[in-house]
């Protein structure tokens, strides 16, 4: 049974797509429904759906940002109300797109294409070309500058922590633990939300619950097929690398 994720920040279009999919593709199992890009990415990591329907304009991470992170790990279909961005570039079929409100006939076409792509014999899409396309689209978006300072309450003081000093972030139930040079602290911002505000070049997500400052990474160690961890410069602890992110460390 094919699994899917739906993400849209507005309720009505989200529900509409869900209803349309139910009648067009009854065998599809929608495993997660997200109302923003941050949740969409987190849900992807948690449920590993095979198909992701992403609205392009979403708070937190845009649909394009989420698609870039997903890469070739799932089939992505963008949903948009109007032909924004150079969506025509996707006509080629690497990624499909739907116009909202979703029309049954067009959706049937998309579903047929998805089924072809998901068939075992289907040729894999070229991940490099896909990433190039998505990077191009994402470059057009305006985004706020990355977070430079974090504020953590520690007892009666509010500690200011420069992001440059952070070694890694770790999700700790409803909090995020910040491990930095000189100590650690807890903040209330969930890791998935923090992710969207950090500099992507500097901070690498390596696990659903871990983001690391790559300057502090010493080595990636493959333990066995499917298991990997990171060792850090001058620190004893190791950090797990989940399967989704092992592609970051493949040697040159």
């Amino acid at each position: 049974m094919t699994t899917a994720l739906i993400a849209d920040d507005e309720e009505a279009p989200r529900e509409q797509l869900l209803a349309a999919l139910r009648s067009t593709w009854p065998a599809l199992r929608v495993v997660a429904v997200a109302a923003n890009g941050v949740d969409a990415w987190d849900n992807f990591l948690e449920h590993e759906p095979e198909v992701c329907f992403l609205d392009i304009r979403m708070p937190g991470l845009s649909g394009i940002d989420v698609a870039r992170r997903i890469g070739a790990q799932a089939a992505v279909v963008f949903a948009t109300a109007y032909g924004d961005h150079a969506l025509a570039a996707f006509e080629a079929g690497a990624v499909d797109y739907l116009l909202k409100p979703v029309d049954a006939e067009r959706l049937a076409q998309t579903v047929a294409r998805l089924k072809l792509r998901l068939a075992p014999a289907a040729p894999a899409p070229d991940p490099a070309a896909l990433q190039a396309l998505l990077a191009q689209l994402s470059a057009q978006a305006r985004r706020p500058p990355p977070l430079a300072v974090l504020q953590a309450s520690m007892g009666r003081e509010v500690r200011l922590i420069r992001t440059d000093d952070v070694v890694y972030f770790e999700s700790d139930s409803r909090y995020t633990r910040i491990v930095f040079e000189g100590g650690d602290a807890l903040i209330r911002t969930p890791l998935k939300e923090l992710l969207a505000q950090l500099d992507e070049q500097q901070f690498w997500q390596v696990h659903r619950a871990v983001i690391v400052n790559h300057r502090h990474v010493a080595a990636a160690v493959r333990v066995d097929e499917g298991h990997m961890h990171l060792t850090l410069r001058g620190r004893p602890e190791t950090l797990p690398v989940s399967r989704h992110f092992q592609g970051l460390f493949k040697g040159q």
């Binding site: 920040d9 507005e10 309720e11 009505a12 279009p13 529900e15 509409q16 209803a19 923003n36 941050v38 304009r57 708070p59 937190g60 109300a81 109007y82 924004d84 116009l99 909202k100 409100p101 706020p144 500058p145 939300e193």
Partner: protein, 357 residues
């Protein structure tokens, strides 16, 4: 309103299209010369009729009749070309009278040379029939030509109306994204019989109704624009649910302040797009209008991340600034700055005396 077709009796004694086109209308819709096909077809038809007529007439008068019919042909062609450029009933009547006069002249002219009464009658008959056909042909030509021009004028008017509508929509800068997203919600809620459909549709209609006429005037009372702003926020509210909170706080009397159209709407749209939509938790928009000494001050504040350091005006804002400067000169200002307590504050300040009566 159904209208019962009435018989225009004047067409019996004064036939032809009543409407005389202006020079401008003729230039726009009737500047084309008669097509060669039409000229050739008319010529061949006339020649055929003339040949038949000559067969019927006594052989002895073939030469005379040929000359007379040729004269009719020349006159008909001149009249037709003349009427081509003025296809309405006054010129048509003039042309028809000329043809009739020429026909009478020729008929009487031949009477003198034909002593036999039977000959005279048959020649006269051919000429009368020929002229009658010519008169009818001219009438037909004028009616056809007038309909052609009418159709073209109608088509042009419709096209102009469509262009004008498009221009207004463009001036109103209604974002297609906004429109289609809203329609997507409306459609879903209609299909799923959700009670939110009707209020959302009403707000959208109100928004469009309030927005389209905004741009007809160079300046308009803030109150008019605030109606559009309110409808816009209602639409966004319906779509975004509790992620959007908003309120308008207008000091009485300031609704009469004259502003260039679209200014407040642009600021509110920007606040939603940059201050609320990108925020995971949503946000609040507050529009206030206050008297500040001799100035009126309109402020749109959001609870977003605030203006970024490398802020540059988008198209909407640049437009707004330009329109404000054009309308109020240096006395007015539009500033974007970080709001105390976070978020972005957009302030328009302008002299109080720009008030509608």
């Amino acid at each position: 309103m159904p209208t019962t077709p009435r018989i225009d009796w004047s067409q019996l004694w004064y036939p032809g299209p009543k409407r005389a086109y202006t020079a401008d209308e003729m230039a726009r819709a009737g500047s084309d010369a008669p097509s060669p096909t039409l000229v050739v077809a008319a010529g061949v038809n006339f020649a055929t009729v003339a040949l038949v007529a000559l067969q019927l007439a006594p052989a002895a008068h073939t030469a005379r009749l040929t000359a007379a019919l040729a004269a009719l042909a020349v006159m008909g062609s001149v009249a037709a070309r003349w009427l081509w450029w003025r296809p309405w009933r006054r010129p048509l009547l003039q042309a028809q009278l000329m043809v009739a006069a020429a026909m009478l002249l020729m008929t009487f002219g031949m009477r003198w040379r034909l002593p036999e009464r039977a000959d005279r009658e048959s020649v006269a008959l051919v000429l009368v029939i020929g002229s009658a056909l010519l008169v009818a042909a001219l009438w037909f030509l004028v009616v056809w030509r007038a309909q052609q021009i009418d159709a073209r004028l109608r088509e042009q008017a419709e096209r102009e109306k469509a262009i004008e509508m498009a221009r207004r929509l463009a001036a109103a800068q209604i974002e297609p994204h906004f429109l289609f997203n809203t329609l997507a919600s409306v459609q879903h809620w209609v299909q799923s019989k959700d009670d939110r459909a009707a209020p959302l549709l009403a707000a959208l209609t109100g928004y469009l109704r309030a927005t389209l006429p905004l741009f007809d005037r160079a300046l308009l009372p803030a109150g008019d624009e605030l109606v559009a702003v309110q409808r816009y926020l209602e639409v966004m509210q319906a779509r975004m649910g509790e992620r959007l909170a908003w309120r308008l706080d207008i000091e009485p009397g300031l609704e009469r302040t004259l502003l260039p159209p679209g200014l407040l709407l642009t600021l509110v749209e920007n606040a939603v797009a940059h201050g609320v939509e990108p925020q995971l938790a949503g946000g609040e928009i507050v529009l206030t209008a206050r008297r500040d000494g001799a100035a009126a001050c309109f402020e749109v504040r959001d609870t977003g991340p605030g203006p970024s350091a490398d802020l540059h005006d988008g198209v909407g804002l640049a437009n707004a600034r330009q329109r404000l400067a054009l309308a109020c000169g240096d006395a007015a200002s539009l500033r974007l700055e970080p709001a105390p307590g976070g978020g972005c504050s957009a302030r328009i300040q302008l002299p109080l005396h720009t008030q509608a009566p």
